[in-house]
């Protein structure tokens, strides 16, 4: 397979598909197209059919397994690997956008060196490697440093081998979110150097102390699966979830109860709960829990209520619930980013322990290798550089110049390093400071492996020819080693001459095979691993006991500024590495719905107090620095808190990221906290600058005006029969029974009259069911849809005019929040409802939109003349118009597929041109594809043969697609669920999309 891969040349590939080229042609058919054959046929490629290769997503440390859909030798879409234990076939928004990293037009196209004028100039690989070798020969062993991201696999090992052979041990790992507090707390409380796996699926009562476990924390996709299993509504039962954090994060929006304590006091609250449990509810507690009574004594709820701002009875109630059922408390996110992060982590560990969760829902496995490193490491590196102890610095997979607080002075420090080599794929802030840039392959172009957690070894394989003249860093290092000769050369002269990194990797996997006591020949083991995407097994939980000597250093009082600023990782851009993916830039933040920029979240009352309106640009100033950004009015905050997402404010990193928004890290002090990480809290002041901008957000009103768009019930409500009388728009008056009959008769006659020609035969009616009790608003479906359907991004200015084009959007509505009533947020994925009586259809003068025999609301793009009447008449507003030509390079201002981004285009879907309306059609290309297969095989479609892109990627499995006329299908059963409702049902549009009401568990019925 790989050989076929290597022989492949893109010229041929492009020629055969014509996909890219033809796509650019828009709707013109007049151009002469060339057909360019392969020189040698590819045994695993059938032109016109997709091939799938297993690999691993490296967008964040979670390490989900993915399949790459490859057409004619180019990867066109990321899909989840169903076998992979981490994500079980689901992928998050960032994973879906990962191919925009591969095809990013700003990728470094070949090796570069810094010239005397300070600019970069291209250089050959040969010359580049020679330069490295010279420098290494000249540098004293000790002065050699290697900074990597969280590589978590054989590459880590390679780097360490490589360094040790050169006599250096300065390998530093830097991951912006390294969870230092958790590592420390686990050492302190359980004496184990690991992060446990949190079994959300088994937790009937979940309390998150700030952990954004559905966004970025540890392994969001895996968590979402577990959360959906435990917290989804299954015949009368569901888990309960309480979120403790000063800010209502996206994750918190799925909570049944949101408690906003004084910033930094989550730990105290957790200890208070533990206190109650050890004193009153010891049912499930392990025997040695009582010994903690003394330790917890000072945390009696009434004592701490003042500090946390949470009334004692709440603590008692929570503790009772927590102790009564299999439960789980999560330390993380904002809860473990303030000064007292370690206290929080320790407290949560204790809470889990006394509730008897350790070993049940908190499972420690034998420590996985590597870990995330620590901020302290970088601080040391900077110090060393300042002391001129670093002669040569290699940087791979880390971008400290951007991702650390500017106060740390990474840039200045690096200036003191005589020779810096970067292996960056994009010219990020750190690479921009390097002397030599040796661009690495994209993860999807290289051989590698990754260990998300103990027991899981996940493989990466090149799914296509490299897009640019890049080389895999592993190969480069080995090449350098060979040229260095000596100890280093000897170390890598090894097993496979010329084998390069792949051979090294296979050596490691040989060891793994022995470790697994697998007797098969290695090739067999290897091939299977490559096909499956890795090997994994369940490890026995290692039993842990609480340590005897635990010190609880008292929380530091918050002081200084008027507000506490919380700097949180963006659910879309993570720590900023997603900022050069246009899909992620245009993906509305699940909470604020703002795109393409930074906004400062302020509580409406706070804002009015400061005389600020939405869009007013404010200066947020802390002791460390200041940023300027527009205000977003967000009721989901404590009035004394402002929140700013990370991820923007790049000063390099390509056209989509550079100079956009503000970098919230400027607010943070550089000095590592006691727990070894960055404190992402700051005492700040907020002042208006007088400037005002129109926020590029996709949201109109954030209240649903009692229109029943997003409906919800409570478990108690269902028990009390709330579902019997369902919500409807209040009619002017109930229709008299006689008229009702007449209306039905008319309707029947009409249906009869539509049975004609191709409509006269029995066909399916495609439908979708969306369970709002599971939907977490994570927006993975949005990017998946864009990727599958060639949906272009339109850019900030257009979004500001509400011209975004994502075919599925996650509407977020607020309920309550008035004085004394809790604020509640609801998500509704809104896509074309494929109405049975579609209002959009009859108004189209040219039949461009119409009803297909199988019940879709079809859209023939090439027939559309662009009257836009259909959109006016669509009550759901799910039709999107091509205001400009996003599909042609002729107009660079609006071109959305800058080469090589256009290699992402799905050849099965028309690329829409200027002036036509487009919309969701339930991935009709997948339906037709499946129907063709079925016809050719002479069989009927079975339930599950067709899977829409949104359904396929949904981490919570909230979306189900299928045939409504097939009573046995999953979707048909859900469409009959008592919680079913259809949006704006009173309009008699007969939507094919059924929503299942969100269910909230207000507790008390444990």
């Amino acid at each position: 397979m790989t050989d076929g891969m290597n022989r492949r040349k893109f010229l041929k590939v492009l020629g055969v598909t014509g996909g890219g080229a033809a796509a650019m042609a828009g709707c013109s058919t007049e151009r002469v197209e060339k057909l360019i054959p392969y020189l040698v046929p590819l045994e695993d490629q059938i032109p016109g059919l997709a091939t799938y290769y297993a690999s691993t997503c490296r967008e964040c440390p979670a390490g989900c397994g993915v399949y790459l859909r490859v057409r004619e030798g180019r990867a066109v879409k990321v899909e989840g690997n169903p076998d992979h234990p981490v994500n079980r076939g689901r992928v998050c928004a960032r994973g879906q956008a990962s191919l925009q990293g591969t095809y990013n037009p700003d990728r470094i196209r070949g090796p570069m060196e810094r010239t005397l004028t300070g600019t970069f100039a291209p250089i050959t690989w040969e010359a580049a490697i020679t330069r490295v070798v010279e420098r290494l020969k000249g540098a004293p062993a000790g002065s050699l440093w290697f900074l990597t991201g969280n590589e978590g696999g054989s590459f880590d090992r390679l780097v360490r081998d490589w360094l040790s052979a050169l006599g250096s041990s300065h390998a530093v790992t830097f991951e912006p979110f390294a969870y230092e507090a958790l590592w420390q707390a686990n050492r302190a409380v359980f004496g184990i150097d690991a992060i446990p796996s949190y079994r959300l699926g088994d937790a009937e009562c979940l309390v998150s102390f700030g952990a954004d476990f559905l966004e970025t924390w540890l392994s969001p996709v895996e968590h979402a699966r577990g959360f959906a299993a435990a917290h989804g509504y299954h015949d009368g039962r569901m888990g309960r979830y309480v979120h403790v954090e000063p800010r209502l994060s996206m994750t918190a929006m799925s909570a049944d109860e949101w408690i906003a304590p004084v910033p930094g006091t989550e730990g105290v609250l957790a200890l208070a709960m533990a206190h109650v449990i050890v004193n009153h509810h010891l049912e499930r507690a392990p025997a040695d829990a009582v010994q903690l009574r003394g330790l917890l004594q000072p945390y009696e709820p009434d004592q701490v209520a003042g500090r946390t701002g949470v009334p004692a009875e709440t603590v008692h109630r929570l503790a009772a619930e927590f102790a009564a059922r299999p439960s789980l408390a999560l330390p993380g996110g904002a809860g473990t980013q303030h000064r007292d992060a370690q206290l929080t982590a320790v407290a949560v560990n204790l809470l889990n322990y006394v509730a008897g969760n350790v070993g049940r829902t908190v499972v420690f496995e034998p420590a996985a290798s590597g870990g995330n490193g620590s901020y302290v490491g970088v601080a040391d590196l900077v110090a060393a550089a300042r002391r001129n102890e670093i002669g040569v610095l290699f940087v791979h997979g880390a971008n400290p110049a951007y991702a650390t607080p500017p106060g740390l002075g990474v840039a200045e420090a690096l200036a003191a390093v005589p020779f810096k080599v970067s292996f960056a794929r994009c010219l990020d802030e750190t690479a921009a400071l390097a002397d030599l840039v040796l661009p690495d392959h994209d993860p999807y172009e290289q051989w590698n492996d990754y260990t998300p957690r103990a027991g899981v070894r996940s493989l990466l394989q090149p799914v296509m020819q490299p897009v640019f003249d890049t080389r895999q860093t592993g190969d480069v290092l080995i090449d350098v080693a060979r040229r260095m000769g000596g100890a280093l050369g000897a170390r890598f002269a090894g097993a496979a001459p010329e084998g390069g990194y792949k051979a090294y990797l296979q050596e490691r996997w040989g060891e793994l095979q022995r470790e697994l006591a697998d007797r098969r020949p290695f090739d067999e083991f290897w091939r299977e691993a490559v096909q499956r995407g890795g090997v994994w097994r369940d490890l026995p939980a290692s039993p842990v006991r609480v340590a005897r000597d635990i010190a609880l250093n008292p929380p530091t009082p918050t002081g200084g500024g008027r507000f506490t600023a919380i700097v949180y990782p963006s659910p879309t851009l993570y720590d900023g590495r997603g900022a050069n993916r246009p899909w992620l830039q245009e993906l509305p933040d699940p909470v604020t719905k703002v795109t393409w920029g930074t906004c400062v979240e302020l509580h409406p009352d706070t804002a009015s107090g400061l005389g600020l309106a939405e869009g007013d640009v404010v200066e947020v100033r802390s002791a460390a620095g200041a940023i300027e950004a527009p205000v977003y009015l967000y009721p989901g905050l404590r009035p004394d808190v402002v929140a700013v997402p990370l991820g923007q404010g790049h000063t390099a990193y390509g056209r989509y990221a550079d100079g956009r928004g503000a970098n919230a890290l400027r607010l943070l002090g550089p000095e590592p906290a006691a727990f070894g990480g960055v404190v992402r809290y700051a005492d700040v002041t907020v002042a208006a600058t007088g400037a005002h901008v129109v926020l590029a957000k996709t949201e109109g009103k954030n209240r649903q005006l009692d229109r029943g768009i997003a409906q919800a019930v409570t478990v108690a409500g269902i028990a009390a029969g709330a579902l019997e009388h369902k919500f409807h728009l209040p009619e002017a008056a109930p229709i008299p029974e006689r008229e009702e009959r007449i209306l039905d008769e008319v309707a029947r006659k009409q249906r009869e009259a539509t049975k004609y020609g191709p409509y006269a035969f029995e066909t399916s009616r495609w439908g979708l069911a969306i369970d709002l009790a599971k939907c977490t608003g994570c927006s993975a479906c949005v990017v998946a849809c864009s990727a599958e359907n060639n949906v272009p991004f339109v850019g900030e200015a257009q979004v500001a005019r509400r011209r975004e084009m994502q075919w599925i959007r996650i509407e977020r509505y607020f309920e309550g929040g008035g004085p004394g009533e809790p604020l509640e947020a609801r998500f509704v994925p809104m896509l074309c409802q494929q109405c049975g009586n579609a209002p959009c259809e009859p108004v189209c003068p040219v039949f461009a939109t119409y009803h297909t025999p199988d019940g879709l609301n079809g859209q023939a793009y090439n027939r559309c003349v662009g009257t836009r009447y259909c959109s006016n008449n669509c009550p759901y507003k799910v039709r999107y118009f091509n205001w400009y030509d996003q599909s042609t390079p002729d107009d660079p201002r609006t071109f959305a597929w800058e080469e090589p981004l256009h290699w992402l285009l799905n050849p099965d879907v028309t690329v829409r041109s200027k002036g036509v309306m487009e919309k969701c059609t339930f991935c009709v290309q997948r339906i037709r594809g499946a129907q063709n297969e079925a016809r050719v095989a002479g069989r009927d479609l079975a339930d599950g043969d067709v899977v829409t892109a949104c359904q396929q990627t949904c981490p919570a499995d909230a979306i189900v697609f299928g045939n409504l006329t097939d009573a046995g299908s999953r979707v048909a059963r859900l469409a009959a669920d008592p919680r079913r409702y259809r949006v704006l049902e009173s309009l008699n549009t007969q939507p094919a999309v059924t929503y299942l009401m969100k269910v909230r568990n207000l507790g008390g019925e444990a």
Binding site: C27, V32, L35, F761, R928, G938
Partner: protein, 206 residues
């Protein structure tokens, strides 16, 4: 009563015009290669010999970088279309023979033929031959060879004409929508007699 004549006749005229529009439409539709006319099957014609030398200029269809003779390969030697267009039964796109498969024969066969020499040079230079596309559908039309050939049991020549008699391949059918529809309106599902194959827009346009 002469004054009746004029209005009556003119009135009639307008009606006729109206009717004509309608039938004109009919006509327009069925014209062009309507339901593909099937020529007598010539595959059994074992005696066919392709003309020895033909002048490309005089022939219809675009001129190709190499004057590949379908009439020789498919006609005289009666090679099956699927030998080169190997995907036609398993993929929407019929597939284009790789130069390797050409060389399968032409390593030995055809020495001395200047056109074959071009092929060998191309392979030697590792330069793919850039054939000119003859049958082109717009990117907003999605056509599956697999379904038409396997499920639809269509013969290649119904859409491509008698390629085995074409020294240089030309576009036989208009490949316009009206032409597709004309056929779809006549054909029926093999397993459901009486059910016409679909004329649903979204069968091809998505």
């Amino acid at each position: 009563m002469t004054r009746w004549v004029v209005p009556v006749t003119t009135g009639a005229a307008v009606v006729v015009v109206g009717a004509l529009t309608v039938f004109a439409a009919r006509g327009l539709r069925s014209q062009g290669p309507a339901s593909p006319k099937v020529q007598p099957d010539t595959v059994v014609d074992l005696t066919y010999e392709a003309p020895v030398d033909v002048d490309t200029v005089g022939l219809p269809g675009p001129r190709q970088p190499i004057f590949y003779r379908h009439d020789v390969h498919a006609g005289q030697y009666r090679m099956d279309c699927r030998y080169c267009h190997y995907n036609v039964e398993r993929s929407p796109s019929p597939g284009l023979p790789s130069l390797a498969s050409c060389m399968g024969c032409h390593l030995i066969v055809g020495s001395g033929n200047p056109e074959v020499q071009k092929l060998r040079d191309a392979v030697a230079a590792k330069q793919p031959v850039q054939w000119v596309e003859v049958h082109r559908l717009s990117q907003f039309v999605h056509f599956s060879h697999e379904r038409h050939v396997v499920a639809g049991e269509l013969n290649c020549k119904e859409c491509h004409g008698q390629v085995n008699r074409m020294p240089q391949v030309y576009q036989f059918a208009s490949l316009k929508m009206g032409w597709c529809i004309a056929c779809h309106k006549t054909k029926e599902y093999k397993d459901q007699p009486g059910r016409p194959v679909t004329t649903d827009c979204s069968a091809c346009h998505y």
